[in-house]
């Protein structure tokens, strides 16, 4: 499952960041409310999205509040 769908994106993010898997509803939750979230995860996502050919401007990513927002950036 790739990064093309929200579901695939969430699975990837959970695997890569060592988070307990979240359902689609968690995509709109505030990042700070996700169990096990820490601020370094945003830095990890910078690298991860670049590896998947979906670079997002770093300052935008660092200001994101939800996984849904990040997914939207990555799709742009």
């Amino acid at each position: 499952m790739g990064i093309a769908s929200l579901e695939g994106f969430l699975t990837l993010v959970c695997d890569e960041l060592g988070l307990d898997c979240v359902g689609a509803e968690a995509a709109s939750a505030d990042l700070a409310d996700l169990p096990g979230w820490d601020s370094l995860n945003l830095l990890r996502l910078v690298v991860l999205l670049e590896e998947h050919g979906r670079p997002v401007p770093v300052h935008r990513l660092l200001q994101a509040r939800t996984l849904q927002e990040i997914y939207t950036f990555a799709k742009e």
Binding site: G18, L40, L43, V58, H59
Partner: protein
């Protein structure tokens, strides 16, 4: 062996990373921590569990540095998974797991080092307990004795320095002289703190970034900045020459191998001044340092021959058909042999495990003009047609070391998989059909890293050859007693000489089987004890026999309490174990203690994973069990009343015994 290259196949099955994630998702990762090291091994992490596909995976030239490439990327992901574990939960399942407490501080955002460090330590079966300081607060973190970093009593304290450590103090606009002044201040602060930090402190040199050099438009100023910067790094490195508890990791070779040193965006927005790749390489160095501090340094490199040490297959091509010089590929093997010889000159034992006819191998090592490595460079040459795991087990037994002290390097994925399966404790280095990368691959991990090299290290190969002479004597002697009498053993015990402290510290770190409490000591700790001979006893044990001088092989540590002597620990190298030296040492110390007017001796034994066989040592010398420690049930205290002294073994001559109690410190 080229003949087995057909064993390469497409990646199949789950990779180690898949299995880690699966264990985590099922909540079984803490319980399965004892399997993690095997899952993280290079070829199992990235290419599925059977390991037979290792040489054809994504290990391009960049992957040869180990911390980068496909393996590096997978290890980074594994580190993230493992860093989510609760160390206490792991310990609840596996209480014997070696824990390394690492305090991390630095100039900028340092937390990103935790994931790679978790993974690198897990590769060696160790468990990281990280204590991470505040952003940019290294001066306070290291300087405040009551702060969380200092009170963590860390085994290792990492202070990650980056260019900002200096440039944060430099005004804008600036000249090289401003940088020089700021660098001077940083050095002064560091020098003042180094001695106060408990445990081992790790600093690093700082790469000079183009972002700074090219803010200067004239070449003369750039040269000046480069000089100032090199001097800063040189003086940092010099600090480590002075202090045995300080290690400075030089980042320059890591940047050269992997680069870039920084991701400018993350540096700007997140104050992460060192790139993920650089931190991964750094974490690998630190994990090997942790191994060295725990006495886990590997001792022997076991090498395949065909396509590992030379080009060609001896059994097929004959001695004239193989090359290790004179041809394009031959020169690459030549370079590898030179690198291996360099390791051998520093105490790494070299051995051969090859599927070949023994006599043909001896002929090549004796007479082939291309060879850098000769018969005498190897302590064991195993060449036969049996499975290699059996050969490796025999090599370990012959040398008197454990299988986890071996590193095995082979170009054949089939042989590697067989060894990994049969002798899982042995580290396996994957070489392939590109000999120009052999040395880089071998050195990607610092398997043989140690803190200080000693004269004993440099003479180790000779010492093992002497051991062969002893073996011949043993085989020809009628009985074990005849053998011991024939050795003509001589021992001397006295306070350590000033040049012996590095070797003593190393001995306490490397000795496992006859380390009666498991204690390991640093050089400065030992010097402190030796500096107070009225209160403490510290003796170096040196031995020799008719086959050679073994040098410093043991140590006795104790303290005085009124008219009693407490033996806090004994160490004796496994090289000379079971020849009566240990009994002779105790008998000599007891006799000397009685001559000093002491009345009793207490001694302590604390079991570890490796010293079980020494449990009855003190009783065998006439000690009686005094107590079992109420706090620590495993610890046993023994007593000996000095109204008599034990007879020392007749075949060991004590040339000298000097407690040094009245002396004014070490000489």
């Amino acid at each position: 062996m080229t003949t087995e290259r057909a064993g390469r196949m497409a990646p199949a099955g789950l990779t180690g990373l898949d299995r880690l994630r699966d264990l985590r998702s099922r909540g079984l990762l803490e319980k399965s921590y004892d399997q993690v090291a095997a899952l993280l091994a290079e070829e199992t992490l990235t290419h599925g569990g059977n390991g037979t596909s290792g040489a054809c995976g994504g290990m391009g030239a960049s992957g040869a540095s180990g911390a980068d490439g496909a393996y590096g990327a997978a290890l980074r992901r594994a580190g993230r998974v493992l860093a989510t574990l609760d160390p206490d939960a792991v310990l609840a399942h596996h209480p014997g797991t070696p824990v390394v407490t690492v305090a991390v501080t630095g100039q900028s955002t340092v937390a990103p080092v935790v994931d790679p460090l978790t993974a690198e330590l897990a590769r060696h079966g160790m468990l990281l307990r990280p204590v991470v300081g505040d952003h940019g607060a290294w001066l306070r973190d290291l300087g405040d004795p009551g702060g969380p970093l200092r009170s963590a009593a860390a085994d290792l304290t990492l202070c990650l320095l980056d260019a900002e450590a200096v440039f944060a103090q430099v005004p804008v606009p600036w000249r090289p002289a401003d940088v020089e002044k700021a660098a001077e201040e940083v050095l002064e602060r560091l020098a003042a703190i180094v001695e106060a930090v408990p445990g081992t402190l790790v600093l690093n040199t700082v790469p000079l970034l183009r972002r700074y050099t090219h803010q200067l438009v004239d070449h003369l100023s750039r040269v000046r900045l480069s000089v100032v910067w090199r001097e800063f790094n040189t003086r940092l490195l010099r600090l480590a020459e002075r202090s045995p508890r300080l290690v400075v990791v030089d980042l320059e070779p890591l940047v050269c191998a992997g680069g870039p040193a920084v991701d400018e965006r993350l540096a700007c927005y997140a104050k992460a001044q060192l790139s993920a790749g650089l931190l991964a390489g750094y974490a690998r160095e630190v994990a090997h340092l942790a191994r060295a501090l725990r006495g886990m340094t590997r001792k022997c490199l076991v090498l395949d021959l065909d396509h590992t040490l030379w080009d060609g297959v001896l059994a097929d091509d004959g001695p004239d058909g193989i090359a290790a010089a004179g041809t394009l590929r031959g020169e690459a093997f030549h370079g590898f042999q030179q690198g291996v010889k360099q390791l051998g000159a520093q105490g790494v034992l070299l051995a051969v495990s090859s599927k070949n006819d023994l006599e043909a191998v001896h002929d090549v090592l004796r007479g082939h003009p291309d060879m850098v490595l000769r018969e005498r460079d190897f302590v064991r040459i195993n060449a036969d047609w049996r499975p290699k795991d059996r050969g490796l087990t025999e090599i370990a037994e012959d040398l008197g070391i454990a299988a986890d002290a071996l590193v095995f390097a082979d170009d054949s994925p089939v042989e590697r998989a067989q060894v990994r399966h049969g002798v899982p404790a042995t580290a396996v280095v994957a070489l392939d059909e590109e000999p120009a990368l052999h040395l880089t691959r071998l050195l990607a991990d610092g398997w043989f890293d140690t803190l200080r090299l000693t004269d004993e290290d440099r003479a180790r190969t000779d010492a093992y050859h002497s051991e062969s002479g002893r073996r011949a004597l043993r085989e020809n002697a009628g009985s074990h007693e005849d053998f011991l009498r024939g050795l003509d053993l001589a021992v001397e015990l006295s306070p350590p000489r000033s040049h012996e402290f590095a070797r003593l510290a190393q001995l306490t770190r490397r000795t496992n089987r006859f380390n009666l409490t498991g204690t390991r000591m640093g050089e400065d700790e030992l010097r402190e004890r030796a500096g107070a001979p009225g209160r403490h006893l510290l003796l170096a044990v040196r031995s020799s026999d008719r086959f050679g001088n073994d040098g410093l092989v043991g140590a006795v540590l104790g303290h005085y309490d009124g008219d009693r002597l407490h033996l806090d620990n004994l160490w004796l190298s496994c090289r000379v174990l079971a020849r009566g030296i240990e009994q002779a040492c105790v008998a000599a110390v007891l006799a000397a203690a009685r001559d000093e007017g002491l009345t009793a001796v207490h001694a302590v034994y604390r079991p570890t994973a490796r010293n079980e066989r020494a449990r009855d040592f003190y009783p065998s010398c006439g000690f009686t069990v005094a107590t079992q420690d109420s706090h620590d049930r495993d610890t046993i205290t023994f007593g000996y009343v000095l109204d008599k002294v034990p007879r020392h073994p007749a075949h060991v001559r004590i040339d000298r015994i000097e407690l040094g109690r009245g002396a004014g410190g070490h000489r």
